[in-house]
């Protein structure tokens, strides 16, 4: 069901939803290859996004500087001080001049300073102190906060604590920049890298879950949205797919006089051989050395 929005006629919502189906399929057609339909949606989307960004930046500024309350008067209530940030903000426009170009740096400098100061305090408290505190208060003897014995059950909470402590220390050593990873430090960084990989694996598993959820959301939109009991998506999906196929065929049948690439792609064999990623133990476990012989589907 599409609820009517304010004074916007319900028909409008239907058109918008139909557009939504077409946009969905056109964007999915990108998975096949970059094509005129996906390109059109892309350009439309970028245009809308630029205005949308402007709108919410404008809205944020207006609601901070202009509309206040009796307790917190802003410009609308006669608090003139708020004109100051507006004036400084206008210095951004010197970006368009050649001579006074550098004046844009003033608002940037103010904001950067504020953010740096805020970040220092936030980082040290929640990312440093609280995390170290959380590590040293892990249960190792006696009972856990829930009243279970630390060395009972499987896996015992005490063992978990020890694993976390070892993990934190070894991964931290991995990030040392000015010491060579040799000797005991080398062992530690190696263990640290295993921990990092386990972390990344857990992250990857979680992400797969999230991404499948997104697809599910989209598919439920396609399959379940109806307008007055008319499940239009069932009819529109084939039409949209046919559009994609037609455009694909049309593109293929066009003479190759206007190659869509910047430079004519050379045959792969003459390409610079992909220089080998160094086998040094570092950021990457085993670089998924892509088969660069595979050409893109251009």
């Amino acid at each position: 069901m599409i609820p009517p929005v304010g004074d916007i006629p319900a028909d409008f919502s239907l058109y918008a939803a139909i557009f939504g189906v077409f946009a969905t399929i056109f964007i999915y057609s990108f998975l096949w290859k970059e094509n005129p339909l996906s390109r059109a949606v892309e350009h439309l989307f970028i245009g809308l996004a630029a205005v949308y960004t402007l709108a919410f930046m404008y809205d944020a500024a207006v609601s901070v500087a202009f509309w206040g309350s009796v307790e917190e008067p802003k410009m609308a209530e006669g608090n003139i001080i708020w004109i100051l940030p507006i004036l400084i903000s206008l210095m951004y426009f010197f970006f368009f001049t050649k001579k006074y170009f550098y004046l844009y740096r003033y608002p940037v400098a103010i904001v950067a300073g504020i953010m740096a100061g805020m970040m220092i305090c936030g980082m040290i408290q929640s990312n440093f102190v609280a995390q170290i505190q959380g590590t040293v208060t892990l249960p190792l003897v006696g009972e856990t906060p829930e009243g279970k014995p630390v060395w009972g059950g499987w896996p015992p909470p005490g063992l978990n604590s020890i694993i976390i402590i070892i993990g934190v220390i070894t991964v931290l050593t991995f990030f040392f920049f000015t010491w060579e990873h040799k000797g005991p430090l080398g062992v530690s960084t190696k263990i640290g890298r295993y921990f990092l990989m386990a972390t990344f694996g857990a992250g990857y598993g979680g992400t797969v879950m999230a991404r499948i959820s997104l697809l599910i959301g989209r598919l439920r939109f396609l399959y379940e949205t109806s307008y007055q009991d008319w499940f239009w998506a069932w009819y529109l999906i084939p039409i949209a797919i046919i559009c994609v196929i037609i455009v694909a065929l049309w593109e293929r049948s066009r003479p190759k006089s206007t190659p869509p690439m910047t430079s004519p792609a050379k045959p792969t064999s003459t390409e610079v051989p992909p220089s080998k990623p160094s086998e040094e133990p570092a950021a990457k476990p085993a670089p998924a050395k892509p088969a660069r012989k595979r050409k893109s589907e251009g």
Binding site: Y106, V108, G205
Partner: protein
Amino acid sequence: MSVVVKRYIPLAITFVMGILMVIATYFLAPDTDLRKGTSYITAAVDVLVATAGIIGLVVLLRHHGLNISRRGKYWKYSMITIIAVILYLLVGINAIATHEKHLMYAQEFFSWVYNKVYAHMDATIFSLLAFFIASAAYRAFRLRSLESSILLVVGSLMLLGRAPIGGAVWEGFPTIATWLLNVPNTAGNRAITIGIAIGAISLAVRQLLGVERGYLGPER
């Protein structure tokens, strides 16, 4: 002189604002007037950068306008962008002119376009990830070394444990997934978090002292 105005004054401003925020956090007690004063400075950030949205729009229009006038590659698509900008901007300006609180975003038609047109494209592009993640799983997860095997095994166990089917097959899977999330994952993420905190503070120091290059325009 000019290098002072161009470079040193902005750096000095950055330094002063940074120190001010640190002082406000540690030394100004909450609910005092001074602390409130600094909360107005933080609130003003959004006003300070507000004009940048216009700069972005102008840069975008200039790029596509030039492309059309030169009949460059894909100039027809550039027209789509420009038409979209103009139409949506008109809706927005109409919103400012008619809406009582002068908020573009709260205006019905403006947010209607967002919710009913824009949001579909947004969610669809996001869901492309489900496909990309499938192909990444297929091509990149290989048992090359002990390290990549750890990544692969942990990832697969998480997949089994976090979906209902894992628990239906063997009830151990959810337990293992929760353990992986609570123990090794916590350890790794915590160390990364601590490392990032130190790195970010070190970058902030470089920045406040004005030695980080590539920021605020290098020496000119």
